[in-house]
Symmetry: C2
Subunit: 194 residues, 2 copies
DNA sequence: GGGGCACCTGAACAGTTGTTCAATGGGGTG
DNA sequence: CACCCCATTGAACAACTGTTCAGGTGCCCC
């Protein structure tokens, strides 16, 4: 019927598209061709299901970032990663937003355990950006006095900011332009008091 | 009892803190010390109330940006604006997030008119950042070949990205550091193909 | 003081939500 | 064939939601 992985994938898709509260257990059951109650034999509650979706999502994005960190040409790999994540085609436009950020906007309705999972996921994503920063610095592409923690955090800031405009904007060329600006700034001067 | 402005302020606060769906009409009525039904003498529906909250919010942030655009020292004004908006004290930490972005994460549950108001509000905010960019360029602080539209959009990207980390991070000094980085990049080189 | 108007009240409605649970059915084992 | 185990079922529950409305209240103007 449906193994656990496809169940998680479909649930991830729905939560990503509509958000946590707007996605009902019945929506998920319908998408999986199950009857009400069946989901509860595999997941204790909606909250626990969402928790696993968050973990699942964070693993994927972390893998994506660590893969980029392995590439030879770090700058080009960074550019490609940004482009691929930000310029999702029209039918997947909802994926231009970040599921974790959307979840944070609804954090007041999350149970404690799901909120913790969300914090962990954010930390894991940051860790991925720091891995990318380490790779860039090892290739001598950056100013070496700035800490990789700062650079990783900065990359995440750029990523988050760009995701929003990429979601709203109707002009993908602009997004590419801002990615190029980002790559210039990445290699440029950083404040001293860090 | 409660004039329309304080009603809007309180509603804005609740929507900002908890989100659209998580805030019930009963929450708002309770915060205003009203009984169920009273709100409907002033607002047709929850959707219309939220619509006005969005307009109200957008006006405030636009005013804030246009005020910064009038200052003599544009760079310092920009810096102060970012600091003031991003480093809200602990008891108002929820204001570090952007109400408009949170609303966009829940856009699947918004009625058409509220969704339009949200689009307008986003456009208005962008217009504010462009006004700021115009002011900076008139003060000869920036490279003059880059269009003010691009610079305004870029400022908004930085603002959105920083808001998220400012909300999550427990270290305000980092935020100031990234604001300084932003001011360096603002005056630095921009890609040519714009 | 009387009339009208705007507001407020609070019970009630219909719809949706997450969740439960007794009944069901099918597949494997003796 | 008879037995048992376990996932599935789908009806039902309680809580919550936005919203309505007939009746009450208080205020202002004539």
């Amino acid at each position: 019927m449906s193994d656990r992985t496809t169940m998680l994938n479909i649930a991830t898709d729905l939560f990503w598209r509509k958000g946590y509260q707007a996605t009902s257990m019945r929506d998920i059951q319908q998408a999986l061709d199950l009857r009400p109650g069946s989901l509860y034999s595999r997941f204790q509650s909606k909250s626990e299901l969402f928790e696993q979706v968050i973990v699942h999502y964070a693993e994927q994005i972390l893998a994506r970032l660590e893969q980029s960190a392995l590439e030879k040409d770090g700058l080009e790999a960074t550019r490609q990663m940004f482009i691929q994540e930000l310029l999702k085609p029209e039918e997947q436009r909802y994926q231009r937003q970040c599921l974790l950020l959307n979840a944070m906007a609804e954090s007041s309705k999350l149970e404690d355990r799901a909120a913790e999972a969300l914090d962990d996921a954010m930390a894991k994503m940051l860790q991925g950006f720091i891995a990318l920063a380490i790779s860039l610095q090892q290739q001598n592409l950056l100013c070496s006095v700035t800490s990789v923690d700062k650079i990783g955090q900065w990359l995440q800031i750029q990523f988050v900011g760009l995701r929003n405009t990429a979601f709203v904007s109707r002009n993908d060329e602009d997004i590419v332009y801002f990615i190029d600006k980002l790559l210039i700034d990445l290699q440029h001067q950083w404040p001293h008091n860090g």
